[in-house]
């Protein structure tokens, strides 16, 4: 993991940050050789990132004034990780029911979508009040060249 590149971003979990962050992720990943001409993969990763941030904005911080979210993006030679830390309401992802796709509803797709496009959805809460969400995607080395 010598050629790992890592980025840390701390923002308030406000809706106004969603688009700047999504664009950052998309343009950053789009420049990595691993993802060149892999628009489908970048779309998936942007979606997972977008859903995770939106959930923290909406569910971890329910009051008007939003708390902070700390984001880490790590790209290694064979995998990518988005790590989100918030200090809001925690929850138990295993208790969230999968959506019934035969009865489309207005919500309840976020976590399910993240799990569809990422390989791992790992969530835990620390004693100091931090909730840590890690989304991981594995890809073959040189995925960009052999789609």
């Amino acid at each position: 993991m010598d050629d790992q590149i890592s980025v840390r971003i701390e923002v308030p979990a406000e809706m106004i940050l969603l688009r700047p962050l999504d664009h950052f992720v998309r343009i950053f990943l789009g420049q990595l050789p691993e993802f060149s001409s892999r628009d489908d993969l970048i779309n998936d990763l942007e979606l997972a990132f977008d859903e995770a941030f939106t959930n923290i904005q909406r569910h971890a911080y329910t009051s008007e004034k939003k708390g902070p979210v700390s984001i880490e993006i790590k790209v290694g030679s064979g995998s990518l990780e988005f790590k989100f830390e918030d200090r809001g309401q925690s929850f138990d992802p295993s208790s969230v029911q999968a959506p019934n796709l035969d009865k489309p509803s207005e919500g309840g797709l976020g976590i399910w979508l993240i799990r569809q496009v990422m390989d791992e959805y790992l969530y835990h809460s620390e004693a100091d009040g931090r909730n840590v969400l890690r989304l991981i995607k594995h890809f073959p080395r040189g995925a960009g060249n052999s789609p």
């Binding site: 969603l18 688009r19 999504d22 489908d40 779309n43 979606l47 977008d50 859903e51 939106t54 797709l109």
Partner: protein
């Protein structure tokens, strides 16, 4: 987001992104349109590169509101990302989706 009328059909052209930022706006606009019964609406995704679950939710809510007042909604011009998302969520079986705007508009006048 732009709204226009053409021969009794309303066309909403969404922006580059149909995400949590604009989903409430879309729902509000369609709820207003649905006050009139039998509203025919086309959502033109031509400019929309990216849709998330909030965007999908707004589309589901929009269709539902229109049907309640005997209207209907068609979707035109989905991007590759939108197509993938509609397939994944099986919303492609819920929405009537057309590759271009004309097809969506004509489907109203034909019926």
């Amino acid at each position: 987001m732009e709204i226009q009328e053409r021969d009794g059909i309303t066309i909403i052209t969404t922006d580059e992104r149909l995400d949590a930022v604009v989903a409430p706006q879309l729902k509000d606009a369609v709820n207003k349109l649905a006050e009139r019964s039998e509203t025919k609406l086309v959502i033109d995704l031509e400019k929309t590169r990216f849709i998330d679950s909030s965007g999908c939710g707004a589309l589901v809510a929009s269709l539902r509101a229109l049907i309640k007042s005997n209207g209907d909604m068609k979707i035109a011009n989905p991007s590759p990302q939108a197509k993938t998302l509609f397939q994944l969520t099986r919303l492609h079986r819920v929405f009537e989706i057309f590759d271009d705007l004309e097809g969506a508009v004509e489907s109203f006048t034909a019926s």
